[in-house]
Symmetry: D2
Subunit: 338 residues, 4 copies
């Protein structure tokens, strides 16, 4: 095929990264930004050759020729643009989670089957070199997994300042797709049952009606343990907006990955922060896991043979997080339909 | 009263610490070591004035005058010596857990009520300065607790080399009394329900028929979350025999305590280890949390007015850990009787 | 002898610690506070039985019976009270450095020789359990030392807010006595030559005319290397007011001691700080290295046979830091007279 | 120009990285490996289209058409192949240091002036994202630099097992080009004077006649301090083969970069190691700083306008490290000719 033609749907922080990465990639062409807010759309378009539209439907009605789209709308708003794109036969990179109900996820998958496009779900931590190294070592060792334990949490900045739609999501929907996908990717096992607890106190008092924090205990298909904790109420003075600590224990090894700990610290007169890589490298190219993931998607669209997380995985994670929320309601362990 | 007269029951690692601390304390007298192995007993006695006996019963039959005893026998062997001492009206410091069944714990408590002695349960982490500082800050802040999360685990050294009786215990009985007592002490709340999962694979294959690792999710009486993980199968090459990480989140603060991380590292040609304080200070005095706890017990016996963890707390922790093991059997959340 | 009678000279932060420790010690009696500011003096006295005086001379003129004094005046103001106390035959604990000129140090030593009292210099890091453990391991190993390297620095808080007399001192006079004494104590070697560089830019611009930072490269008597860096201009937002990192390399081992890293972190809405032990333990007793040092001094005065850092060591450190300042002036390596 | 044609000179670890990166790069062609050991040469060639030769001279005599070469021979063996390539008009990437005498460095530079090729010196840490982020923050802040302090050291593995020619080098020649180049790049200042000390004890006893460790104190052209320490005798049991800690202090900020601390740890039955990124990414592409640097060099050769460390910087670093060794001989501070 020729150079793939790409549209980005959703003009937020993530849409901007995907747009920049596409523009920077020699093997792809950014042709449109779909975003209802025209100012935001224009900011991401930057170039008169890049079209803007309020929605993917509008864009398709206009007759734009596309090969693939990226859906970077809020968590709960994936279905409509994903289905529209897939029914048009386009390839899809959709931000995690695939959807926030399994019915929506199944409708997205059905649309892909009808249209013939491929689905990639944006579990971006698979592009983190530390997780890649741990997975390599686990696989090389041949040791069976015993347990995994992960904490992924944000400061109050995320639900109260960064996301306008936090009350429509939860720490489980927003954060656990990352840690749960990673647990399945490292272990090769699937979650089969979950018991969860939550606390809902501080965020509601701040006007955001969702859980402060959720803990989930999974039984995995290989008999290993998995404990996930995610929350949204860490104090604003933390040295990093997020904290991601992942622990893996096998019959011979243990791995401790402090993903947010880069080894760099920067102190000012006010506070000490973690110093991490800049969003762009010294030649202005987007760097980090999200651009690396996006480049793989672009190469996949252009014909590369790559093993990327697909619709089945997206559906599994959605079902597991649904089961977390069911368990929060019932107070009992809940099965996760495979 | 005069100088309290103390006997130590159990001549293992812990008994040695308590014997040394007693001998070093100006306000107490070590009068006997009760230990069935006479070589060990003699090692701890060190001084001809210190008697040895195979058991507390033997010692009492000989007519020894005592004020208090310390029970430092294996976890499952607390009841008999504790009851014997308490029925003789002596004060008791008993290693955690108070007992490994609530029936045993209740019989110990009944013996105290009959004899009039006091029970102190050895939740030694209350004497760790870092936990003390965190508790002080939490109480000063007035912020309500949202969640606690703790990992306390050992390398394979503990169940396969240090303890001869590991198969009669579990990571929950051996380690979670520490983390669970701490959670109640920091929060002022009690555990009311627990859901637990375990994996039992590596230790049985090594001839030790118990759990490799247990995770437990608690509902607390104040609505906060508590997640505990404990295991016994970390690789022998870890930099420390134990790992203890405790996280507390309130409505305004967060605390992360890496108890095993002293800030000191020692590398040799073979490996890198954590460097911690020596067991004795520069003047040969026992130092660290266990001696500090022992000194408080000795002062309590001598008449000091101290708030030490007692029988009620010991019973609560025993009941909670019983409930963990019930949940491991039933696969359901289990209530913790107060 | 009876219970030693102690006076504290200097009513600042340090004087308060020494007064509290003395009052708390069963084997010593706090009899007086010498401090020109009567409000401060009264705050430290707390008890009508404790006398206050503007100076040690005034106290001695009044005929107070004393056994020992602690001099906790500013660095440059040790000579007068030390000489007065020593000429009266009293034992002396003097804060590091012994003096800020070797002439003063020698006059203090001469006074001790005339009066017969003993001098202890307050190199308190010898009472830090981590340094004690490292020294123990080095001595046990029998490995020869190759190099030491230490960073001891403060935030701007110390020279601009805590100390009124910072311009009369320097990072070398205020901080390097700690790191240099430790280097000699760990190695058993003495500094024989030093080359130093300094920068003097930020503090003068803030009205404090002294060095921002000083680095010193020592030749040691055993052929090993020693590099010390100390500064006073770290940003106020650092997680700890001080940073103390000490590295030791022998022919078989290496040690890295992050003395300010306790393993505890406390985040608030504003910032993240290191969480360390409280100044008092759970029973209100002063804890940490300075009280431990003070207790050893009190026991020495009462007759204990203890090996504490004395006048010779105090003079050596003063001479070495004088040599640092000479090297800053000359730009050349300077010999350190033994 | 067309696709640049590249030869790699030196078939060691580094040559392998550069060969792989060239082969992987769409905009360059690997045409030859120059390496006297034919087995090694064949290993790096991997493809029948890639020629092998014992030396660059042999290759040039054969009439190979080349655009650029990479010199990855031992530190002391850069001059001959560099001069040969530059006289042939080729562009040159040469491993740090440019040369180990300033005379050699000047002859290399003269050859470039004669032939017209460009020189890039492989100060690869400029491609480390953490250093890039620190430099960005320093430049953004506008704060003047006060001091820098760096430790870069290896375990005994490097001089006793990895390098056959360690005795012909030193920790200063092998390691300080990295830390010293970084200090100039972060500060924009140049070293003007250096005072150095060294210890030479353990490596000679192991049959490697060079320094165990060297410390160097620099005066910088902007009045800031710079202290570098480098050694080759850390114990083999360290968690990482190298340790690189870099500290920067400005009038408003401080930066602490633990370059070897990735946030990942891997424990086995024997020891705990740092877990870092794999040498190749999930698609088999070389990753990390050396490949990133190599790609910039390849793009420069192909016509890109990039600001890479050149001959002047290479000469400056060589002169500074010569001055370190002069100071080790004279025991005095030595000027660094600009």
């Amino acid at each position: 095929m020729g150079t793939p033609r790409i549209a980005i749907i959703g003009g937020g922080l993530r849409g901007r990264i995907f747009a920049e990465t596409t523009r920077d990639h020699p093997g792809a062409e950014l042709v449109a930004i779909c975003e209802p807010n025209p100012t935001r759309a224009a900011q991401l378009a930057t170039d008169p050759d890049v079209a803007t539209a309020a929605s993917i439907d509008e864009l398709l009605e206009r007759g734009s020729e596309l090969d693939a789209v990226v859906v970077a709308t809020p968590d709960f708003a994936h279905e409509q643009p994903a289905v529209a794109a897939l029914e048009a036969g386009l390839d899809l990179l959709v931000e995690k989670p695939l959807a926030t109900t399994s019915e929506e996820a199944q409708r997205i998958i059905a649309a892909a089957e009808r249209g013939g496009g491929r689905i990639v779900v944006g579990f971006e931590n698979r592009w983190n070199p530390l997780f890649q190294a741990a997975r390599h070592q686990i696989q090389e060792s041949g040791h069976a997994l015993l347990s995994q334990r992960a904490l992924l949490q944000d400061t109050l900045f995320v639900p109260t300042q960064m996301l306008s739609w936090a009350a429509l999501s939860s720490p489980a929907w927003f954060l656990m797709p990352h840690s749960l996908d990673m647990a399945t990717w490292l272990s090769g096992a699937e979650p089969v049952e979950v018991f969860a607890r939550g606390v809902k106190r501080l965020l509601p008092s701040l006007g955001v009606d969702t859980y402060d924090r959720i803990s989930a205990s999974f039984a995995m298909s290989d008999g290993s343990l998995l404990d996930l904790d995610s929350g949204w109420v860490q104090p604003l003075g933390k040295s990093s907006v997020f904290e991601f600590r992942f622990e893996v224990e096998t019959e011979g090894d243990s791995f401790t990955l402090d993903i947010d700990d880069t080894g760099g610290r920067h102190a000012t007169a006010e506070r000490t922060s973690t110093l991490g890589a800049l969003p762009h490298d010294h030649r202005g190219r987007p760097q980090g896991a999200p651009p690396a993931m996006m480049r793989d998607f672009l190469d996949l669209v252009a014909g590369a043979d790559l093993d990327l997380p697909g619709a089945d995985q997206g559906l599994l994670i959605t079902r597991a997080i649904e089961a977390i929320h069911r368990s929060l309601e019932t107070g009992s362990p809940e099965q996760i339909t495979p």
